[in-house]
Amino acid sequence: MIKFNNVTHFYNTGQNHKITSLSGINMEIQEGDFVAIIGANGSGKSTLAKHINGFLLPGSGDVYVDGFNTKDIESIWNIRKKVGMVFQNPDNQLIATTVEDDIAFGLENIGIEEEEMKRRVDWALNIAELNVLRTSEPHLLSGGQKQRVVIAGALAMHTTYLVLDEPTSMLDPKGRKNILEIIKTLNEEKGITIIYITQFMSEAAQFKKIFVMDKGKIVLTGSPKSVFSQADLLMNLGLEVPQITQLARKLAENGLEIPSNIITEEEMVEYLCLYI
């Protein structure tokens, strides 16, 4: 379990332009969860994500990963083995000259023996659908492929939790879809906990639970259906509801008996068939 206990974080501490980036965050993410975090630019999403593996430490309060406190220097390596991080720009996270070397990098660093390393690299290549690219040079891959290499590198460490900070913002529609499919499989079949930050409401709609952030606080938590039924609140926070939900709301306002929190195209088609 990941637990945030009244976590506050400041940037520029001790200077006259101190910024409160996180303010009294209390949050629990259970093993196996499939959660999205949304919020306007500057609402604290990335700062929150960087607290999960101890890249950033709380100004006050505590972050626990499976009971280990990120402030505890003795536990930090345990925590980083459990929590894999995937950022926006894969180019910043790729270092080796071949895909398989890149995936093995983390394992070498923690001294995994060769046989086990090979097994894990094969396993990760397989899950991220990278078998045919194993000897390719990472910088020659497409954005979506690069992002899959980063994910595979994290998986090879046998992470329990995978934190992805806008991993699809630089990808084309196909790459985006592919990444979402892979993390869904990871969650459903391998039980890996997914914490996914996104600016795309249609992506957030595919998760089991959504945390909504505003000005360093979590202001709304719930299933996509319950979160996206609060369209006015979301708009005040600089967010929006998915396009299909926008349509449902407009139809409901015009007298069609249709729930205003429809989020998927399939559901919309089903409801509309009742009327037309």
């Binding site: 630019n41 020659l140 497409s142 790459g175 998915p242």
Partner: protein, 273 residues
């Protein structure tokens, strides 16, 4: 050369003054190469690029003229900021072209106004204190300061939140409508393209495979788009599905508003029967 790749293959394309053109296609389809050719950052291996009937690579002085006419904003343009203040950041381009003094100041004021940023409020601030959305607008302002006729934007909304995203889009629409700029925009966001572009160019493997109005593309070429793995705006897709299962609905719906009107029209006519 070992890594030689044919990024673009025999492209024939004409863009008129005042158009709003959207370019879509996968990573690696040649979009960025095309944009870089447009203002002479790259030179075609074969073929010509004519701007106002002049071959841009004919002589070097011409190229300078071209760069004044075509303002190019790359992906994540904020990564290129380096000045201490916003007015210095905007001044950099025109200053290099020899604009100074009062005219330079006027250009800074005008450019900020065009992206809906208040001159007095922003001029002395550091570019690095801006929010993500403001940074994007500043990047556009610094291009506008060279007074280009054509504004080329590569993924202007990438990783912005919905509100900053719609703000920047309204700035772009304004550049087109109020300031009569020709807009060429690359985006992976089909909802934006369907709503804003007047013409969409679809690229695949270095070729232009479609070139039409959004309405025609999202009406007649849906299967083709799906085959190359491009997505459709969710409302367009929903209406397409309804049509496919036999509902008497018109396809090629581009926006939420159009979808609403179409569904209500149909629902009412069925009720009357």
């Amino acid at each position: 050369m070992p890594f030689e790749t044919e990024a673009l293959k025999n492209i024939n394309l004409e863009i008129d003054k005042g158009e709003f053109v959207g370019i879509i296609g996968h990573t690696g389809c040649g979009k960025t190469t095309l944009l870089q050719l447009l203002n002479g950052l790259l030179k075609p291996t074969k073929g010509q690029i004519l701007i106002d009937n002049i071959d841009i690579h004919q002589d070097k002085r011409k190229l300078r003229e071209v760069r004044k006419k075509i303002g190019l904003s790359f992906q994540y343009p904020e990564a290129q900021f380096f000045e201490e203040t916003i007015s210095k950041e905007i001044a950099f381009g025109p200053n290099n072209m020899g604009v100074t003094g009062k005219e330079l100041d006027e250009r800074i004021q005008k450019s900020l106004k065009m992206v809906d940023m208040d001159y007095h409020c922003y001029k002395d601030r550091s570019p690095f204190t801006l929010s993500g959305g403001e940074m994007r607008r500043l990047a556009i302002a610094s291009i506008l300061a060279i007074e280009p006729e054509v504004v080329v934007l590569d993924e202007p909304t990438a990783s912005l939140d919905p509100q900053s995203c719609s703000k920047i889009l309204s700035v772009i629409v304004n550049l087109h409508q109020k300031y009569s700029k020709t807009i060429i925009m690359v985006s992976h966001n089909m909802e934006i393209m369907a709503e804003l572009a007047k013409r969409i160019i679809v690229m695949e493997k270095g070729k232009v495979i479609m070139d039409d109005t959004p309405r025609n593309i999202f009406q007649y070429s849906i299967e083709k788009l799906e085959n190359i793995g491009l997505s459709l705006p969710p409302v367009t897709y929903t209406m397409y599905k309804l049509k496919k299962i036999g509902k008497p609905i018109s396809s090629g719906i581009l926006t939420v508003e159009e979808a609403k009107d179409e569904i209500l029209k149909l629902a009412r006519s069925i009720k009357r029967k």
